[in-house]
């Protein structure tokens, strides 16, 4: 079925650049007195959820915010490192709203919704203004003005940053805005709470069932609208750069209640992560993409050198310049080490599969700062009037510059790997990082369930098949600060006479019973294997067959294997402890149960998409040079509708129409 008949994307008419302004001028507003009578639930307190909760509370709505962490400040947005994009053109290097829009659509391999992306680019500049006003300490230059850096897939410097901790600083900004509203009583904060079900009354989202993770109590919460900002689903792979608790459950519960889930196979494998060290590994650590501004990626040119390095007989620093293969600079001279993430990841895999990997497992490439240290060192020596040809002088000065830019990342690397990246190149390998797919939403950010809005990484609309670096923070804050507060108002203007939503209705009874039944089932299961055992098995199938490269046979096998793991999970999982207490194993069991369903849909989505685009690479569809082969007949978003436990989901297509941008072959050469 085509999207457009039952569930239109609600894209406003008119020229692209005027759509958002015209839309805002025409929507219904809710007067301040009426806002006081309207409740909104926000699930998740990262950049999207946190900024939305704060802004809605400022406007006067009664907000109830939920997070599974012990404080909203700990949401995983905090771990974002490199920066946030905004079309400020402070560097005067040719940036504009249109260019940010263009780069984002191209970077997403023409699989995002044009009008949403333009709006994102349009409000990006406001985000920086807002954050500075909140006291977010972005990096500045000596003139006191804001500094910028460059990120992959673009030719301008539009990324604002706070060392390697930009996500932390932005999240603490949103957290502080929330704190102001918590102290006013406009946000009621529910820490260590997990949403386990959506409650729909008369066809509208009217509340949630949540579990208090400390006491185990099951709680009913009602509202006039429910906002989901619970992040992505990368942990379906078990190993990812996501936090241990990051999960798909809120998104999955609404999927099973009728919200379509779009493009689950669009997952970002980030090229610069610390390689896996052993079976005990619980998560992977990202090394910011900003490092590719100064680091050069290489593997040995000769097989015998690669073998000697793996055997520990040769050190990378001993290898002569001409014996190194800077493969990104070789293959993509225009963008070099700053190609987009999907391209960089596949290129690393290609070299390692060919046998040139540089760690014991053969799954690592080098990220080398030696030439940047030399270049910066000589520049500093020149400025300071010191001998710029004396290595002792320029190496020290150069290391200081690098430490100033990336100090915390270098320290993190050294603590984990036990090697000093100032002296020897870093080893990196791609890892699951971000999910572009998510709940299908219209232009209003509303799902196919009226009154259920989805924002940030949890929705699908802005990044297409591949997200550019420093765009996740931009989207989360754009949705929460500047988009949702308008669109939800238009929806809620119908609710000014509704009054409080009661929680003693049959709908709440039924939802609560379903939640309790599942929890009891886990506790009483008395199986023999831990939750993690199943999660790791799922992750291995996902990585091997639904990971960086996919093919028809592998995907079909994965679908069957995931089904089998799921059946075994329900038969044999063991959850110790009880329901009415702090029980992390029980919480994990519920999350893994949802991942076991999502994984199957993920593989199905990858199977139907018979093309390669962005982060989705089908081995059957590649050019002779091994680049992704996009196919025009797949220029749509695939939105999946749940049809019941034993039924096949139905796929709906939203055709992606580009009026203001020419759909071209995506080249970074």
């Amino acid at each position: 079925m085509q999207i457009g008949s039952n569930f239109p994307a609600q894209i406003p008419e008119g020229p692209l650049a005027d759509k958002w302004t015209n839309y805002k001028n025409k929507i219904n507003l809710v007067n301040p007195a009426n806002k006081r009578n309207i409740d909104v639930i926000v699930v998740g307190t990262g950049l999207a959820g946190g900024s939305a909760a704060a802004t809605l509370a400022e406007l006067g709505y009664n907000v109830k915010a939920f997070c599974y962490q012990d404080s909203p400040r700990r949401a995983h947005s905090i771990a974002a490192q490199g920066g946030i994009n905004a079309a400020k053109n402070y560097q005067g290097d040719g940036d504009s709203t249109y260019r940010l829009f263009y780069d984002t659509v191209k970077g997403g391999d023409y699989r995002s919704r044009e009008a949403n992306v333009y709006r994102l680019a349009e409000v990006s500049a406001n985000i920086i203004d807002q954050c500075v006003a909140q006291g977010v300490p972005f990096a500045r230059d000596y003139g006191g003005l804001l500094d910028n850096r460059s990120f992959g897939g673009v030719l301008v410097s539009r990324t604002f940053y706070a060392k390697g901790q930009t996500g932390q600083q932005l999240l603490l900004g949103a957290y502080s805005a929330m704190n102001r509203q918590i102290s006013r009583g406009k946000i009621k904060m529910y820490n260590r709470h997990e949403m386990l079900e959506l409650v729909i009354v008369d066809g509208k989202a009217r509340g949630i069932i949540a579990r208090n993770l400390v006491t185990g109590e099951i709680e009913r919460h009602s509202a006039h609208a429910v906002v989901i900002g619970s992040g992505g689903y990368g942990n379906v792979f078990f190993l990812s750069t996501n936090a241990m608790g990051s999960n798909v459950s809120a998104s999955w519960k609404i999927y099973k209640k009728g919200a379509w889930f779009a493009n689950p196979c669009f997952t970002q494998i980030h090229p610069t992560c610390i390689p896996v060290s052993g079976d005990h590994q619980s998560k992977l650590t990202l090394m910011s993409e900003s490092l590719r501004n100064d680091g050069r990626i290489w593997v040995p040119k000769k097989m015998e050198d690669a073998e000697a390095i793996r055997a520990g007989k040769l050190k990378p620093t001993e290898l002569k310049e001409e014996d190194r293969d800077y493969y990104l600079e070789r293959r993509y001279p225009a963008f070099g080490n700053l190609v987009p993430r999907d391209v960089a990841s596949r290129a690393a895999k290609e070299r390692c599969d060919a046998g040139f990997g540089v760690n014991q497992t053969g799954e690592a490439v080098y990220l080398d700062f030696a030439s940047a240290i030399e270049r910066y060192g000589k520049e500093q020596a020149h400025i300071k009037g010191m001998d710029e040809n004396d290595p002792a002088v320029y190496l020290k000065l150069g290391k200081d510059v690098i430490a100033n830019k990336y100090g915390n990342l270098f320290q993190m690397y050294e603590k984990i790997v036990d090697q000093n990246p100032y002296e020897t190149p870093m080893m990196i390998y791609p890892a699951v990082h971000y999910t572009m797919g998510g709940t299908w939403v219209d232009y209003n950010l509303m799902s196919t369930i009226p009154g259920c809005f989805v924002i940030g990484e949890a929705n699908f609309s802005d990044h297409g098949a591949n997200r550019l670096g420093a765009s996740a923070l931009m989207q989360g804050l754009a949705d929460g600060y500047f988009v949702l507060p308008y669109t939800i108002g238009d929806y809620l203007s119908d609710d000014i006479r509704t009054g409080k939503i009661p929680t003693d209705s049959a709908e709440f009874d039924e939802a609560e019973k379903a939640v309790k039944d599942q929890l009891e089932k886990f506790i009483n299961n008395k199986g023999s294997k831990s939750v993690d055992y199943f999660h790791k098995r799922l992750g291995k199938v996902m990585w091997d067959k639904v990971g960086m490269a996919r093919n028809e046979q592998g995907l079909k096998e994965a679908i069957e294997e995931i089904k089998a793991i799921r059946e075994e999970f329900y038969k044999d999982v063991k959850v110790p402890g009880g329901m009415n207490e702090y029980n992390e194993e029980l919480a994990k069991a519920g999350r893994v149960a949802d991942f076991l369903e999502l994984g199957e849909l993920f593989a199905k989505d990858a199977l139907q998409r018979e093309e390669s685009c962005g982060g989705h690479f089908r081995e059957e569809y590649q050019t002779e040079e091994g680049e992704a082969m996009r196919r025009p007949e797949f220029q749509y978003a695939a939105a999946w509708e749940y049809k019941g436990a034993d039924q096949e989901p139905e796929m709906h297509k939203e055709d992606l129409v580009y009026k203001d941008i020419e759909v071209k072959e995506r080249s970074y050469k």
């Binding site: 909140q134 972005f138 060392k163 650590t285 603590k415």
Partner: protein, 246 residues
């Protein structure tokens, strides 16, 4: 390597709690400390016992969720790392490792090694913000140049992750380093000037109300802080507080 673990077990906030011994073999030096606990928990679940509850989330040293007093030190023997980034190569075969929750009156134990740090949130509610609404009409971000030195100092203070190690390290369980980091961040920036006095007064009042102890300048907080938040911030907080009261 083989380790003897002595771990604090406490069923809930009402339970008295006690240290329990565990033996763990085959610990790899490349494991993080929390991965070592994962292995222990996997074995406990296998035996049908309840796993050891501990707080953790990002496992890359930034969310501030993980805690643990390891051999008497918050976040263990290594410097400038959180427990999640502490690796087993810092320990030796045959070591006995004591693992306890952060201890402070204002951080009651929830279960085993998990403590309730919501007092930190309440201090932030009292003034850890700049009162600016989200409008899209604030002035341009480059309208006020900020001296780089001040901006850098504000950033350094703002890197506090709110883990509570400073409180756990302090013999008085003082939260001065935590409070001073936020007060300093805003005191150093032009945006923070308007509410400067109120902020210092209100945050300190809330800190006292939560039952944190007084600061006696021993510097244990700075020494154990995984993010290296400087003691200078406490001096600045004292100045801000005094200025507000005068």
């Amino acid at each position: 390597m083989k380790l003897t673990l002595k771990i604090w077990r406490q069923k809930n906030s009402e339970d008295k709690g006690k240290m329990v011994d565990y033996q763990l073999d085959d610990v790899s030096p490349d494991m993080s400390f929390l991965e070592m606990l994962d292995v222990l928990n996997d074995q406990l679940v296998g035996k049908g016992e309840e796993p050891v509850a501990f707080d953790h989330d990002c496992r890359e040293g930034i969310c501030g969720t993980c805690s643990l007093q390891i051999n008497g030190k918050p976040h263990g023997p290594d410097s400038l790392v959180t427990t999640c980034q502490l690796h087993m190569r810092k320990f030796n075969d045959g070591d006995t490792v004591y693992i306890e929750p952060f201890r402070a009156k204002a951080f009651p134990v929830v279960k085993d090694l998990i403590v309730d740090r919501s007092a930190f949130d309440r201090i932030q509610h009292a003034g850890g913000y700049i009162s600016v609404n989200t409008s899209g009409n604030t002035q341009d971000a480059n309208a006020i140049p900020i001296n780089k030195d001040d901006a850098d100092k504000a950033f350094d203070a703002a890197t506090c992750i709110g883990c509570g190690a400073c409180v756990a390290a302090c013999k008085n369980a003082s939260a001065m380093l935590f409070v001073s980091a936020k007060v300093s961040q805003f005191a150093l920036l032009p945006q923070g000037q308007v509410e400067r006095e109120r902020r210092a007064e209100n945050m300190v009042a809330q800190m006292d109300a939560e039952g944190f102890g007084a600061c006696t300048n021993t510097g244990a907080c700075e020494a154990e802080c995984p993010k290296g938040i400087s003691l200078t911030n406490i001096a600045r907080l004292n100045r801000e507080f005094l200025g507000a009261k005068l």
